[in-house]
């Protein structure tokens, strides 16, 4: 269900792992904020929410971590070329239109 071995080309496409990570992260963020409030008020629900938020964060990392590593590794090889292109644009050496 969750793919954890990625080739660079596969990792470059948008897949359900990306969407799942984004959706779970939103929930984790909300749980952290609410959990912190109630944990500071020493309400048991606060610690439950905070713990769940942190656990969700770990789950997100497990889901999308390998894919991010694959995307990042492949992209870093091309970055120097892109930065060079950017410098040509800012100096008007590369302009279309």
């Amino acid at each position: 269900m969750i793919k954890r071995d990625w080739s660079p080309a596969e990792a470059d496409t948008w897949t359900r792992e990306d969407w799942l990570a984004a959706a779970l992260s939103v929930i984790a963020f909300v749980l952290v904020a609410l959990g912190a409030t109630y944990a500071f008020l020493l309400r048991p629900i606060g610690f439950v929410l905070l713990g769940t938020g942190v656990a969700l964060g770990g789950l997100v990392s497990w889901i999308v971590g390998p894919k991010l590593t694959a995307v990042s590794g492949e992209y870093e090889k091309k970055q120097a070329e892109y930065v060079e292109q950017l410098e040509r644009i800012v100096r008007w050496e590369d302009h279309d239109g």
Binding site: S7, V30, F40, L41, L86, W92, G97
Partner: protein, 647 residues
């Protein structure tokens, strides 16, 4: 008024020396190139810019804002601070796309996403606008610092506005972004610890967390009533609370009246909100009774007061009524009032679907704005700060962590502040004017922290202030240098020259911010305007530029121009002249979104798409999300996406 002891001054001085020392230490790294001065050479590990995100978004006006919304809405006020959830979506979508573009700024991104003269117009506009916005933000946080130092120390406002920003400018001028992130790292840790300590102390001063919850749970009911400024002076006013109470399964109407009381013009504030009967809100009385105002009280037109009455169990509906003729006739002032104060402990204490001061529709609008906005680039004002941190991360993966780490720590901090705000509310629930309680968190720090920590607290406040100021100084200077000077004025400028232009731009921003700081008085008003309105009309275009290949520069330009016009018209001008009523902010957002769409969509569809060569290059470089079918097909046809199957 706070008096600092010599030991306090020592803490503060050591802190400032540390910050300036940082600037000196990183001077040599920053002067090497434009990329070093503004992006730290794109070589930072994720945790440095992540702490910088946290530190930057912890400004002097943030506890003022958070305390204000918690006093108004209780725990539900946390939703006003939950907007950073946009980074949770962005970290896995738009952050990756923007990082791949390697653009220094969102202005530079325009040159990559769009082509031709339209892209240049957009780049120029973004650069100028962000330079101005940085000056504006610097002015407004400076004004907040001026307000704080005036209240706490009695210093003239200009010292808060000018003094600390000038100190901050020393290390920003010397070390650029290197100085910003390294100082932010120290400031972020100091600020986080102090927020933690002061929040704990505030809760302890309120009797401890359990006592706060228990006290709020048995407080009387209240409604903040703004006495109309046109209410004629008279001593015949009365108020009535009406309630539908269910007794043994049978609903019955109950009511209680107050007065007669007087509404009269005068020099003072009228009835004292701190008088013992009002401050002691813990009802032991049975039945419905209005506790404030009472017979003989004098209220002033145009001022806010908390109408106070005893809570009733099993109440279905509560409403407040005003009589101008000693009870002969009544007019509804407000309905759907809340019973007691226990609702403040719930995060979902909405006042209705669309009605009241905290409707469900507002909450849903904010969630949509934040989460879907995470797909776009530049969908809110924080994006411009985050963009610099995204590009300074050493890898694409670490850029995602920058966003996640920074956003999560901001929300953790907000949670602490909300709890502390609730504790402070339980100590001083009587104030109806938000201005009176906005600085309560700061005051609690000075009042309750033990001797020897006050100086550290001042250093923490200064840290909060400096982190925001340093970021905005360097960010604004980056737009001026990279996008205006380097691109338009002198494209062949040397690296050394560009670093110096960055420094001069920083100095100009600093001076401009002093002028703005002296002008801005209503912090909250500007904050809400900037957060909601300036981005409402371009929120959707900012997403479309990432997710829809057909969206073009003409559509984007028209959206920006129409947004500027519509936002001022809908928010300020038309209500001022009575053409439309003053709309709630969430309604303003949707109105501006619809009006903007009616302009940019025809412009987009009636003008040609961007140059396909340009789009293919952008696609291969950034791999955007969404509807890019024709561009992807063309990239595949040209063999630019090895390893991927055709459509």
């Amino acid at each position: 008024m706070i008096q600092l002891a010599p030991l306090d001054w020592l803490w503060l001085s050591l802190f400032l020396i540390l910050m300036i020392g940082t600037g000196v230490a990183f001077y040599r790294l920053a002067r090497r190139s434009e990329a070093d001065f503004f992006l730290a050479g794109r070589r930072l590990p994720w945790w440095l810019p992540a702490v910088s995100v946290y530190a930057t978004h912890t400004a002097t006006d943030t506890p003022i804002f958070v305390t204000g919304v918690v006093f108004l809405h209780g725990v539900s006020g946390i939703w006003y601070t939950i907007f950073p959830v946009w980074v949770a979506v962005s970290a896995f979508t738009s952050t990756r796309i923007f990082r791949r573009s390697v653009a220094y700024t969102i202005a530079e991104w325009q040159n990559l996403r769009f082509s031709g003269i339209r892209a240049e117009m957009l780049r120029g506009w973004f650069a100028g606008w962000q330079f101005f916005m940085s000056m504006f933000v610097l002015g407004w946080v400076g004004a907040a610092m001026g307000k704080i130092t005036t209240i706490l120390f009695g210093w003239p406002g200009w010292i808060g506005i000018v003094g600390f920003s000038t100190i901050c400018a020393v290390y920003v001028l010397a070390a650029g972004y290197w100085g910003v992130v390294v100082a932010d790292f120290q400031q972020g840790i100091i600020a986080f610890l102090l927020i933690l300590f002061v929040s704990i102390w505030a809760l302890l001063a309120a009797g401890g967390p359990a006592a706060v919850v228990e006290r709020i749970g048995r407080m009387n009911s209240s409604y903040t009533w703004a006495v109309p400024s046109d209410l004629p002076p008279s001593s015949d006013y009365m108020l009535k609370i009406e309630a539908r109470v269910v007794e043994a399964g049978v609903p019955r109407m109950r009511s209680a009246t107050a007065g007669p009381f007087t509404v009269a013009l005068g020099q003072d504030d009228g009835a004292d909100p701190e008088r013992p009967s009002f401050a002691d809100m813990y009802a032991e009385k049975e039945g419905l009774e209005v506790l404030f105002p009472t017979t003989g009280d004098v209220l002033r037109p145009g001022r806010k007061y908390k109408v106070l009455w005893t809570p009733l169990p099993d109440t279905e509906a509560l409403s407040l009524h005003l009589s101008r003729d000693r009870g002969a006739s009544w007019a509804v002032v407000a309905d759907r009032l809340r019973n007691g104060q226990a609702w403040r402990l719930s995060p979902f204490a909405f006042t209705g679907y669309v009605s009241g001061d905290f409707p469900l529709a507002w909450f849903l609008t904010m969630l949509v704005m934040a989460t879907l906005g995470g797909l776009g680039v530049g969908t809110n004002s924080d994006w411009f700060v985050e963009a610099q941190r995204i590009q300074s991360a050493r890898t694409l993966k670490e850029a995602s962590f920058v966003m996640l780490g920074g956003g999560a720590s901001v929300l953790l901090r907000n949670g602490m502040w909300v709890a502390a705000g609730l504790g402070l509310f339980s100590l001083m629930p009587q104030y109806a004017e938000t201005a009176r309680v906005e600085t309560a968190w700061y005051e609690a720090g000075f009042r309750y922290l033990p001797v020897g920590m006050v100086g550290l607290f001042v250093a923490g406040i200064v840290a909060i202030h400096l982190s925001t100021v340093s970021t905005r100084l360097n960010l604004g200077a980056m737009y001026a240098t990279r996008d205006l000077y380097h691109h338009y004025v002198k494209p062949d400028a040397s690296e050394r020259e560009l670093v110096w232009v960055g420094r001069v731009s920083t100095a100009i921003l600093l001076l401009g911010s002093f002028v703005y700081g002296m002008m801005i008085t209503e912090i909250t008003q500007w904050l809400i305007f900037a957060m909601w309105i300036m981005f409402a009309g371009v929120w959707l275009p900012n997403i479309l530029q990432v997710v829809w290949w057909r969206f073009n520069a003409w559509g984007y330009l028209s959206a920006w121009i129409s947004s500027l016009v519509f936002s001022w018209l809908v928010v300020w001008v038309l209500p001022l002249f009575g053409v439309i009523p003053r709309l709630p902010d969430f309604v303003q957002f949707w109105v501006l979104l619809v009006l903007g769409t009616l302009v940019f969509l025809p412009f987009t569809l009636l003008t040609p798409p961007e140059n396909m060569d340009h789009l293919v290059r952008f696609y291969v470089m950034t791999r955007p999300i969404g509807f890019w079918g024709p561009v992807k097909a063309e990239a595949l046809r040209r063999g630019l996406l090895p390893g991927e199957a055709g459509p």
